[in-house]
Every structure is written in structure tokens, then in C-alpha cells.
């Protein structure tokens, strides 16, 4: 009898654990999806602090939705520049979550925090390997607004972080009735069919090529190829300059917060990789890039 009791208890416990883990992952995924929609459908404005390595900076950020059209701006504060001559950037350039994301990240719900006078729920995308950074979000559950975001490396250092210090949110009436679907990345300067001349012998788990763009060269230089790889949460750009283009050093690496740059030469082409991933990831990708012609 006692054995049966223990067996039943263990089975119930195992069932609860098995149910609760994917449930939390689903909840975390749902919150991320809500966040992705919120930055398009909400009207918001506020200030945030952005830290990149040891650098701190302040930004005024705003987003409105007028007749289905998004208007947004990001202005760096305290640089002596007025808002009129500051550059404006879109806030909504991310892509939807890719299915392969769950193969390389584990989604977890964390605790709750209080950011910019608002409660937010922590969601962590924990990488399953060393080829990407841990991503940590703090999202307001009601609105889906992102209040705090950070990238953490394997040494547990926060390599990039942003956090709102003040924020006002309004839900536009039309958005509440008819949510605007997420907008894809800005139109590329020239999209071309997937590359057949440049191929990757292999890629870090989860990464796949999602775009192949042709960028105009600067000062009359020949066009540059930009191959974009993504694992669904982060991305890497591979810039390929033809022979004869202004060359950089033989092989360089630069790190700025979460962003790394790695340049090398492949088949007499200057190849430069840029992405918010560890330097090792860029190096591995470049080693597997091959010129097929």
C-alpha cells in the first residue's frame, strides 16, 4: 500500500513538472509575441538609458500610430543637438520569431521587476550553446511593452542593456480593434536571389541565411554583397567586397558592447562579419564561407 502511495505521488509530481516547464516556456513565448506586437500598436514616448560596455547614453524615444502609419523617432540626448537635426530611426525592424529559435534557446519566465514606475515580467532566452548571447527582457504584461532589455555573455557580463527611466503609453483606438501585423525589415536597397556563388559549408546551430542583398559601394566603389544569417533572435551580416575594393587589415576584430566585427579574406574577397553574437561565432561562420565559382 505504501509503495502504491509513493508511486502515485511520484507520478503526480513528475506530471506536474512535465506540465509546468513547457507551460512556462509557452507563457514566455506568448509574452515575447505580445511584445513584438505592442511596439507596433502602442503609442508611447519616454526616455531610456542605454549601456554598451562601459558607455552610458540617454535617448528620447517615441512611437505613434496614425491612420495605420507608424511614426517613430529616437533622439540621443545631451549632445547639444536639437531634435530637428537629430536622425530618426524606425523602432520596428525586427522579424517574427523563427521556428528554429526554440532549438537553440530555452525560454524561461523570471521574476517581476519595477521599471519606470511599471511592473514588468522577466523573460529569458537562454542559449543552449556558446554561439550566442543570453537575452533578457522585462515586459509589462498588460501592454506587452518592453521596459528593459539586456544581452549577457557567458562570463555573466551584461554586454548591452537598455532600460526605460520614464515612459508613457497609450493604446490607439484603431489598434485595439484591429492590430497591425508586424512589419518586416525595411525594404533592402536591392534584393537578389539566394547566393549560389557564396555558400556556407556549415553554420552554427540554428542559423540560416535569410536574406541576400546588394548594397551600393561608397564613393563609386563596386557593390557590396550582404548576406544575412539569423537564428530567429539575433542575426549576423556577412559583407563581401569584391577584389579591388578598399581593403582593411588582413584580419581584424572589433568589439563594442554586444556587437562584434570580424574581418578576413576569403578567395581574395574582403569579408566582414557584423553581429550581436560572440566573436567566436563570427569566426566560425567566416571559416565555413566558400566561394563556389
Amino acid at each position: 500500500m505504501l509503495t502504491i502511495k509513493y508511486t502515485v505521488s511520484i507520478a503526480v509530481l513528475a506530471g506536474v513538472l512535465a506540465w509546468s516547464t513547457p507551460s512556462m516556456a509557452n507563457e514566455a513565448g506568448d509574452l515575447l509575441a505580445k511584445m513584438r506586437s505592442a511596439v507596433h500598436t502602442l503609442d508611447y514616448s519616454g526616455t531610456l538609458v542605454y549601456s554598451q560596455g562601459n558607455e552610458l547614453s540617454n535617448y528620447q524615444i517615441s512611437h505613434t500610430l496614425e491612420n495605420g502609419t507608424e511614426k517613430e523617432s529616437v533622439v540621443r540626448l545631451a549632445q547639444g543637438a536639437s531634435a530637428s537635426d537629430a536622425e530618426s530611426f524606425s523602432l520596428a525592424k525586427f522579424q517574427q520569431v523563427q521556428p528554429q529559435m526554440e532549438a537553440v534557446y530555452a525560454l524561461d519566465l523570471g521574476g517581476q521587476e519595477f521599471v519606470a514606475n511599471r511592473n514588468c515580467q522577466v523573460v529569458v532566452a537562454r542559449p543552449r550553446d556558446k554561439m550566442r548571447y543570453l537575452q533578457r527582457y522585462c515586459i509589462e504584461p498588460d501592454t506587452g511593452m518592453l521596459l528593459k532589455y539586456s544581452l549577457v555573455d557567458r562570463s555573466h557580463n551584461t554586454v548591452e542593456q537598455l532600460m526605460f527611466t520614464a515612459l508613457e503609453i497609450a493604446v490607439p483606438a484603431q489598434a485595439a480593434l484591429q492590430p497591425t501585423p508586424p512589419v518586416a525589415n525595411s525594404a533592402p536597397s536591392a534584393a537578389i536571389p539566394p547566393a549560389t556563388d557564396w555558400v556556407f559549408a556549415s553554420l552554427p546551430a540554428g542559423f540560416q541565411q535569410v536574406q541576400d542583398l546588394r548594397q551600393e559601394g561608397v564613393n563609386g566603389q563596386p557593390p557590396i554583397r550582404q548576406l544575412i544569417l539569423s537564428d530567429g533572435m539575433t542575426s549576423v551580416s556577412v559583407f563581401i567586397a569584391p577584389p579591388g575594393a578598399p581593403s582593411m587589415l588582413d584580419s581584424i576584430g572589433i568589439s563594442s558592447g554586444a556587437m562584434n566585427i570580424y574581418a578576413t579574406e576569403v578567395a581574395q574577397h574582403q569579408v566582414t562579419l557584423v553581429g550581436e553574437v560572440p566573436a567566436l561565432t563570427l569566426q566560425r561562420i567566416s571559416e565555413n564561407l566558400q566561394y563556389a565559382r
Binding site: V152, S237, Q283
Partner: protein, 202 residues
């Protein structure tokens, strides 16, 4: 934290403290979490005040960098410079309660020191949930596990740190690449725009 410590901290931030005082503060920072947070807060306030006078945010951050460098130079307890304690005659396989408390105390001290140092990086560093998150990283190595062999990560990072300067032509090319990456490839939320603004103003 008492008033004298605050005055002490203020003098340190204003670069008015002597060598002895600075050493004392560094010792205090290792064991006083609140002091570390106060230092970060003061430094951030200073940053904001400087920024309001037209100086870009981040230019005065050298203070934090210097403190981190000084803390990094503090002697560390590496396996080769630690003298092993003599084994107790009555040591048993299972740790006693006293030993457990001792390890707990050492762990707490190490945690407080780590939090104090971490607090310098940002005025509001990750709190308990972040610690849980960091602890969940797969990179965590058990205390008793052998030291991992150096990997390509170290090589790549070393190379990156070695290249501190690039010529203007290379810098222009790289800025163009970064701008295009941020514009077309970033997948996260809000951060791409902030990155773009950050690089555009560099």
C-alpha cells in the same frame, strides 16, 4: 552606510582622496553591497550632471573604468598562491555543521564582493532574477570540476582587444557596414534603433 562613508565616497568620486583612502574604499567595496550601489548612483548622477552641461554621456565614465581596473588589480586567490589549510584530525567524509556555516559565510562574502563589483558596471545592475538567470547559463562550471582548456573564444577575444585602433578609411567602411547591419539585419526590439542612433552619433 554611515555619513563618513558617504563623505569618503564623495571625495573619491571627486578625485580628492589619497592613496590610503582609495585602498580603504576598495576594501570596503568588496564587502559592502550598499556602498557599491551608492557609488554607482553617485557616478550616474555625475554623468547626468555633466551631460546636462553639454558633455556627452559616457565621457566621464572613466571613473568607473578606473575603479574596475583597480579592483581587477587586486590580488586574486589562484590555486598556485593559496596555502592549503592543514587537515583536521577528526575530519570525516561528511562536512560538519560548523564547516557548512564556514563555507556558507565564505560564499556569502564572495557573493557580496561580486555584487559590489557588478554594481559598478551600471547604476541598476541585474538583481535577484538576473542572478538566477546568470546562474542558469550553461557555461557554469562546477567548483570541483577541472579548469576548462582554453578555447577559441579566448583567442578571438584576445585578438579583438589587441586591435584598438583602425585607420580612418577602415573606420568609414566599418561604420557603413554597421549601419547596414542595424538597418537590415537586427531582429530584436527597440535595441536596433538605439544601436543605430548610437553609432550614427559616434
Amino acid at each position: 552606510m554611515n555619513t563618513s562613508k558617504e563623505e569618503f565616497l564623495s571625495a573619491f568620486i571627486d578625485d580628492e582622496s589619497g592613496e590610503f583612502e582609495r585602498r580603504r574604499l576598495l576594501d570596503e567595496l568588496k564587502k559592502d553591497d550598499a556602498l557599491g550601489q551608492t557609488l554607482s548612483r553617485y557616478a550616474f548622477i555625475g554623468e547626468t550632471m555633466r551631460a546636462s552641461k553639454g558633455q556627452p554621456m559616457g565621457q566621464g565614465i572613466s571613473l568607473l573604468s578606473r575603479i574596475q581596473d583597480e579592483l581587477a588589480d587586486e590580488p586574486a586567490y589562484a590555486p598556485d598562491n593559496v596555502v592549503a589549510m592543514p587537515a583536521r584530525a577528526n575530519t570525516t567524509a561528511a562536512p560538519s555543521r560548523v564547516q557548512a556555516y564556514r563555507w556558507f559565510g565564505m560564499g556569502m562574502a564572495a557573493t557580496v564582493a561580486a555584487v559590489a563589483v557588478g554594481g559598478l558596471l551600471f547604476f541598476n545592475q541585474p538583481t535577484a532574477p538576473d542572478a538566477q538567470m546568470a546562474a542558469a547559463l550553461p557555461a557554469t562550471v562546477p567548483v570541483n570540476a577541472p579548469a576548462p582548456a582554453p578555447t577559441m573564444v579566448a583567442d578571438a577575444d584576445t585578438r579583438i582587444q589587441q586591435v584598438g585602433r583602425v585607420d580612418p578609411q577602415t573606420r568609414d567602411i566599418l561604420k557603413q557596414y554597421v549601419a547596414q547591419h542595424v538597418k537590415y539585419a537586427s531582429t530584436t526590439v527597440i535595441a536596433p534603433s538605439i544601436r543605430a542612433a548610437s553609432y550614427a552619433n559616434d
